[in-house]
Subunit: 244 residues, 6 copies
């Protein structure tokens, strides 16, 4: 059931992760008037910009700029207004520092998300994604602990934490627990994906993923109107008033 | 979100299973006006009536009668009006016969449940429970298959299938996926449990389980009003419009 | 390494399974001159012909005939000459009878496959597929046992057993262990899939699966020429002279 | 299928690991003319030289010297010419530093291995081994990433990564995925093992392991000529042209 | 802690299983004066007598006789006086019949074992072993159920159930939970194994297994006197007065 | 079997963990005259004192003092005389430093425990607990390694390592492997729990856990005198002379 007051926080390891993996869901929440904030931890300069580096005389700063502008354009396609670029170096991200964990804990306290969406527990091919998963969980624990003082913030409530589907789902032990229909926003997602010009092969790939997940969504629910979908893991059990 | 038109079908291996494991949830759906049907496959005469058999000159027929009347009384406490006793022999139930599977498939087609609740995949101590799990799944597949003719019935829609929490959860690989707040119906559940006079120790036990699951429900959701809860597995992923 | 003398036996639960799940691999072996035999255990009349049953006055016999002719046409597209239809009833297949197990064991002894391809261990949505998996394994054990006399046959050698990818891979614990490039035969596979006229949605679906697996194949191997692929599980470890 | 141009890189946590766990496979590749490089990360002075420390007045430097000379002698028995000793302190190895990861990434880029063999994911009794597993994986990811500049090196191709069998396989969740026949090199392996004079009990132990794995190799393949074998895990699925 | 009054019941699928997998433990209990009963369900004529069938003009009856006499001789070597041969056909054993389950349930009630040792949950290469595992568990549940009348028997107490180590432990998900030192009875076990003349390769194999498990036993316990061992799974958690 | 000379070392992440999770077992060992040492790594000021922080003007130092005095009072209730407070900061504990690991390794060498009880492998809600698990394991490995010199200590023997049951057992993959009857010390445990005045809800919760585990203990063992119990995981298999 949609509740406009339930805010969504998305933490993306690299510049494009939030688009491939949750773009349709993000656009849907925004479509209906919910608040969504996206935090992009790195530009993915070192690890996720292979095609850009194939160009001669490429520089870190140039790749960084391109990725940032692509990511901003994609955000706009999805309707995202609230996006932060933390600009950490990737491959490998240092996410163990107290300063960085506290920074995210403070953001959680200040934004007060009901749902957090970020990387899931295992990406067998990308160690950065695993690091982000741990980082977000740790920060979320600090955020809800009364005894952890962070200047200018007050303790937040327990959030729900969802995990992105990784690129090669099956070898990463990914098991979809929550499948969200994105039929109404598939076009926004496609537009957003098309902003990442150096990753054409991924655009086609993630379009097909959405189609395949749509097939599963119909089959498992009996709801024939679902055409495209995104899937997620859920860190904790569902708790509520009624069977879902 | 509660939807009065979504019917709930509960399949219970023995006379009391549906009470210990889902009594609060059943009562809650009924409280709010949804239709709930309970099918009790066996009276549990051989496998779940140890205390009755401790009495001298006990007979199968007598135990059967006692268990049935207890189960009927418990159903009344929960508000269940629609209950069927199929009266199979237990320990071990023969649930492989085409006749029995077709009977349940027909019932599913006729009742058109949105949710089915029954035994989960593994009960390390009770092979009947595992057999019921397979039985219900097979019947549900027949029920939704166009090409399976059953006289007097028409193909039904895909249902959601939830698994009961077994008696010793942790050694049965039980992982709660859906935790339902039963604070409003805990008293009905207690009244229902008290109908099973020969199983006093279980009444206390399942009261504590509900308290413990209530603690978990509060902790995981941040909703302080949850005092008692029941938990279930979910056979398939959640599919829907919004994150839950 | 391709070895023309290594025969491939494919055991398909229903009329179309071998096409969706292994059509490209079958066509490739045939392209290069290896012997491939396909055994279709059932026509999938009851369980996998939903669209046909939507037509008025449909009959078992008519569906059976349509499915058989589609399956034969598909086989021809793949280049399969050696195909047997055992025509068991499906939903649910009775595969526990000694007569049926012995029949398959004899076929294994007579055909002497090096590789067997059949359904994998778990299909959370299709109990027939799980039954076929057990059936094939049991028959293969009888086939290689010296002490099991079957008239007119002599004991065969240990085979390798591969499992099909199920329809919803991730909820069936499917983990690809062997990914086969089918770039050279993708067109034959598409032609074969197009023979199943009542299952248009699956044709598109399995075309995308092949594309997605092709992406994985390139990424994991570094071999850029792989465009389309099929994936399988492996029942036993690889044993050989060299790392693969 | 053997391909002489496919180089093998072996990363060994301590001085003797590569011998116990992959000595036969290494010798076989060398026998047939492939290039093999071994990197020994530590001498195992603190963690794997218990018997040496039982001698009075033992010193770190002395144990280090003995272990190194034993390891060099063993390498010679196997035919290894290309071996590097990085001489890190063990128990516990610090393998998180950027400098060390970059050093290995550069080595991978320069050597261009087709196969990497190193410690598997879990050794319940030896935390150094787990650290090496992570270290090698991280370095291999850097090595293939276009956007990670390392002076004097150019991006390498995706490699295959195999995991050693740990000492107590079954309590470490070890499941053999690739079993390599080492019948032709078992004598070289035995000679190499005999270089580690202070670990007599392990020589007998790993001789038996090779015999037991040989039994499994015969049983699973039907190839009676396999007498001795070594087994490995495979980090990623096999990708190729044909079923293996 | 040894308690002479705790009886041990061993259920062996085929004629030699109890020797390879638990011979040392059986001999040890007998050495110290405990009662041990062995039930051999089949002679393994069809499935575990390959070498005998290699001889010309071999017959079922002859293999049966040889296997029985070998099994009796082995029992004598171990000191077993109480052994029953149920002589079921193997490959595949029919263990689903009510008559057979009741027969075993009655035996359990009459013998009153404290420990039951039988096949574990998964043997990836031998479906008979899995069937025996289920058979014994079901019978044990009947045996302790008050409401299950079996003529001439009275309800027994809950037993502990241990699982044999299968032939290829690692591919069968076998994880040792209980490792028993058999140093004092290794010679009896070897003598018993030598009774199975047509299986020479297994004698050497299981001798090495005992040595390898002895190495593990020493390492995990610090008890240097353990030279040979056998290992088992445990169906239920250990329950007792003190940490073990 | 109880052996008075087998010392027990308990490592508790926060001030109250050892009481909720092992208080009954600790009191029992002490009752019978065994030596037990408790090490409390942190006061849980930041992470486990939410209720105290709800009071106005609360300070770190004040919470620290309250928690320490509560923990000392609880220890006294259990009969613990030997308790150390290491007073690390919690949320998150830094347990990777060489100095801290060496400190614990030295303590293990000096105290010479036969059993170590500490946090298990996974607490999905509390990252400190996971860190303690790794910390204790690493220190225990250093402690038994001959080649690791620590001033003033000599190498200790292999210990057994048991894991606490976490707060939400089932979502933490907790599977009880050892269940200890604490009927004789339940009152001491209750007294100890009552010392933690700001955590009333946990006192009731852990009382019920003990009751529920008592139910399981009776059911699995057939020993009707077990009323209350605590459960643990076991890091390594049981090794011994007899089946347990």
């Amino acid at each position: 059931m949609f509740d406009k007051t339930q805010k969504v926080l998305v933490i993306s390891g690299h510049a494009a992760d939030y688009v491939w993996r949750a773009g349709g869901t993000i656009a849907k929440y925004l479509n209906h008037g919910a608040e969504v904030k996206v935090v992009v931890l790195s530009m993915g300069v070192r690890g996720e910009s292979n095609d850009l580096w194939d160009q001669p005389n490429q520089t870190y700063e140039n790749v960084r700029k391109i990725r940032k502008s692509e990511s901003m354009a994609a955000a706009e396609c999805l309707g995202v207004k609230d996006i932060e670029f933390w600009d950490f170096e990737d491959y490998y991200m240092d996410l163990e520092s107290e300063e960085r964990i506290t920074r995210l804990a403070k953001l959680i306290r200040d934004f007060e998300p009901y749902h957090i969406i970020t990387h899931g527990e295992l990406d067998l091919l990308n160690p950065d994604h695993d690091a982000v998963n741990k980082f977000v969980f740790k920060a979320s624990v600090l955020a809800i602990s009364n005894g952890v003082p962070i200047e200018g913030s007050k303790t937040s409530k327990q959030t729900r934490i969802f995990g992105f589907e990784p690129h090669q789902s099956e070898i990463c032990n990914f098991k979809p627990e929550v499948i969200i229909d994105i039929t109404e926003t598939i076009e926004k997602k496609e537009a957003a994906m098309n902003c990442f010009k150096a990753q054409k092969h991924l655009i086609e790939y993630y379009g097909m993923k959405a189609f395949i997940r749509g097939n599963h969504a119909r089959r498992l629910s009996g709801s024939k109107q679902y055409k495209f979908a995104e899937s997620f893991t859920r860190r904790f059990p569902y708790v509520g008033e009624w069977l879902v």
